[in-house]
Symmetry: C2
């Protein structure tokens, strides 16, 4: 599904219309914005009645080649906004559409300039099971979860941003609407998404713009840190009443949130957390809401839905990637790969239990367990999410509220991220998926084998036949995933056919492996210059 249409009316046609020209007047909007940045058009309009439900507003943007209609939203106090993120550079013109005279027919234009050095555009699905930014920069997901961090005291939110700045994570899962659990049990959430009175007396037809302004400020700050915001639209934890709204109110929340936040290029939509625990909704509701997000988001951000114990049908067209809770899937190599096959989409194990103090069994992973889970997911060609759930004297858990982390895994995930980012730009896939559950890579180019809790005494080259011929030259390195060391194996390995299925080192060399868990071996093909071959991003 695409919202980019070949324009039947080009820029010129729009600008030349006498009616439009007559109505042109000043609007509050910048003259230029970076490609993939946020162009915000602000308009004054009516504040009487209920602007949230009574006023329709959108704008049609065109760069002369493609045309896209972008929904607006009411920001309170008679102020209306339309946010658009241009995906090409150059001149974009627009015209507003509304059921109110003072909001409709406004025209204007702006220039989308070349993106800045840290702006690689939004993340898209790439190479079937992987992700990449729109400019072709690979994106290797290393996520964490901080459900309620935007509801904590201001100082904690600042601390959270500081922690993230020094952490390896490039994605944060976070709830859109608050849950009753309060930071240190002392604070009620400081603001709510609707007009009304806490805990449950809400007017679901009137949003609280201040709530969303705060939320989107945090999203923009994550963007500055290079972090994707996986925004969870619905959650089952509320006794605030956000889980029992009627269909119309659910749809309104989706449309409003998408209109406000969708232009931020680091936004992903997670329809729900533990959707099956929100027992006030049916599978049909989720399909309807997922399709609504797909239909009303002109920016087509990534979309998924996260399960409790019942796996969603991720074959649905609206789902761009699978967002999975299943700790068992990454506890041993050989499991995580199985979901790739059934959906042929990227699989992100967003919840694999948390590193924690074990008050609950879902928060009882050691740091080593968590790092192990990431590596199990990695060599299955999938991605994993982190959680840190220690309830200490000085603070509540990271995964609930942010602040600082207490676990030991996160530093080691920086090492993993580095390995991933040094790896093939298009991602790594199981090489021999139902035989060698420890190895992912690119046939004939790159192999990453993770031994996990298995501690073989020695290693020797053995490559599955795909992409391999005799006489290829490889270099190997021993990786310690916990101590974060890379130890090169001296010399080159040269392939020789062993049997019907495998190639081995012609000289039959073996390498002693450290006698400890968490060892991986990285094997890279050498070019004629004796350096590892440069791999490029596959075209989709």
């Amino acid at each position: 599904m695409t919202f980019r249409l070949l324009a039947t009316l080009g820029t010129l046609a729009l600008a030349a219309s006498p009616l439009h020209a007559a109505e042109a007047e000043a609007v509050d909007a910048p003259a230029s914005v970076e490609q993939w940045g946020v162009f915000e058009l602000a308009l004054d309009g009516p504040s009487d009645g209920n602007p949230f439900t009574e006023v329709r507003l959108s704008a049609v943007f065109s760069d002369g080649t493609s045309t896209v209609e972008v929904p607006g939203f009411y920001d309170g106090d008679g102020s209306y906004k339309i946010r658009f993120s241009p995906d090409t550079t150059g001149r974009w013109s627009y015209e507003t559409k509304s059921n109110r005279w003072d909001l409709t027919g406004r025209i204007g234009s702006f220039t989308a300039t070349a993106p800045g050095p840290d702006n690689h555009g939004p993340v898209r699905v790439h190479n079937t099971y992987h992700f990449a930014h729109a400019d072709g920069t690979p994106y290797k997901q290393v996520g964490t979860t901080i459900y309620n961090w935007t509801d904590t005291p201001e100082a904690v939110q600042q601390q959270t941003l500081e922690t993230l700045a020094a952490a390896p994570f490039n994605k944060v899962r976070m709830l859109l609407t608050p849950q009753p659990t309060s930071y240190r049990k002392e604070f009620a959430p400081p603001r709510f998404p609707y007009a009304g009175e806490p805990p449950t007396d809400w007017d679901f037809t009137r949003f609280n713009p201040e709530y969303f302004r705060h939320y989107e400020k945090r999203v923009a700050q994550l963007l500055e840190l290079g972090i994707q915001a996986d925004i969870i639209l619905f959650n089952p934890y509320g006794r605030f009443g956000f889980g029992t709204m009627d269909d119309e109110s659910d749809d309104r929340l989706v449309r409003y949130t998408v209109a406000r936040l969708g232009a931020y290029r680091n936004v992903w939509w997670s329809l729900a957390n533990e959707y099956d625990f929100l027992r006030t909704k049916t599978e049909d509701d989720w399909d309807r809401l997922g399709e609504l997000v797909q239909a009303c988001d002109p920016h087509q951000r990534l979309r998924s839905i996260h399960n409790g114990t019942r796996i969603y049908n991720h074959n649905r067209d609206w789902v761009t990637h699978a967002s999975i809770q299943n700790g068992a899937a990454v506890r041993e190599p050989g499991r995580a790969q199985m979901y790739r096959d059934v959906w042929t989409k990227p699989v992100v194990y967003d919840e694999v239990n948390y590193e924690g103090d074990g008050r609950y069994r879902w928060a009882a992973l050691s740091g080593r367990d968590m790092v192990h889970a990431f590596w199990c997911g990695t060599v299955a060609g999938t991605y994993v999410g982190h959680g840190d759930y220690f309830d200490t004297e000085v603070e509540d858990t990271w995964t609930s509220f942010g602040g600082t982390m207490s676990g030991e895994s996160w530093k080691r995930l920086a090492f993993l991220r580095k390995v991933l980012e040094e790896g093939p730009p298009g991602g790594i896939d199981p090489i021999d998926k139902w035989r060698d559950v420890r190895t992912a890579g690119v046939p004939g180019q790159y192999y990453l084998t993770y031994y996990g809790n298995h501690t073989p005494a020695e290693w020797s080259l053995e490559l599955y036949r795909n992409g391999v011929t005799e006489g290829q030259r490889y270099r190997a390195e021993i990786l310690d995933t916990w101590d974060m060391t890379v130890t090169p194996v001296e010399g080159e390995l040269v392939t020789k056919q062993k049997d019907r299925y495998h190639f081995v080192d012609a000289a039959g060399r073996t390498v002693k492996l450290p006698d400890k868990p968490g060892i991986a071996v990285r094997v890279r093909r050498l070019g004629d210059d004796g350096k590892p071959t440069e791999l490029s991003l596959p075209t989709d």
Copy 2:
């Protein structure tokens, strides 16, 4: 989807029609047949032109409550047949419909009598992940594969039936159309499904009735042995041209096969073997063909499709259960369960590699490996299929041609089948699916734990909390899955809460386990009489 409709015209209305009465004449049909047996109506009709394509024939059957239209088929030499398997006892009337005067408007009736002692009706999906016969008798699938057995010399086919009579298998996967591989390389397939000349000069508009008569005789013989016939409609192995027919010919083969064979209550439809290796067809083709089987089969036999390396979208409505090739899924406990969650249908691992002599790596399982695979699948709440692939001096492989088996696993599968049949009638499901990958059962009633290659020194009772309260009484037995022994643990175990999640034996007893692989423990709840509780079939 159902083909049973409330009759708008009852039996009486049909019988009272003067037109129908006037046309009544003798037809060749029995006066009675067992419920779930095959009622066959034989009619003489035209043999000129091409009866396979030019003559339409069906009959509408009604028992006064429900009405079902059953397609007929041309059996050669001017003979037409309609086969119907009544699913209720009592009087059934029928009227034929055809585009030929001498075949249309034939009416009659017969009595469906109570089923015989070995007739439990067809196998249906039951209790979401399991199967049961229509009369409520549990069906615990223990399958094998004999692709080409109907194409071997007559003596080998007889021997195959004798082998099956002494084997534990209650399902056989078999190809409908021959593949070029010939028994002992000496025999061409003795007959082909189409008129024409081998190897490739076929008239796809004319079936060879003699081929199907032979095939259905074998299906009926399997029925006599209590064995389901999982009939593989298409396969990728042919150079006879049956994989490159046009859509119309594919559809015709499906309709003809379903009309001829669907009335046999032991028939299952497997749309293809290794469907993704048949690269002349697309995913859309398979969906069309699957929906066609669903639409044209009045008996609604079980339907699936078997993959090579690409897993099919078994969420499709026409798929009744998943038929999977994936040996890795049952090589370790913890994997097989994952596919259950994604489709919420029974999962049958029909191909997990074969027990064999290892010429190919897909035929290199030891007998122990094969038995292990079955038990891994079992404690995941799934079902497994056997293969035996040894190319010996005296014969070709069982899995290609039948005859006798060379492997060691099949005898041990009799023990597994007995354990399954002594277990809960509704089947066993993972008790704590993402935590304890070794245990399936019914909460608070029955637990089967399989240790596989893990050899703990001792065992003690530890039951996940679902269905368990303090003071429940259990009896345990140690099962050796290879040596096929059941060793009772003396005395009773009585539950006591251990922590938030588990119950243990109040007396804290431990039991020494044999120091060898393949050990399982069966735990059954005791009733007030000190005997294991009788469990009944859950209603769907």
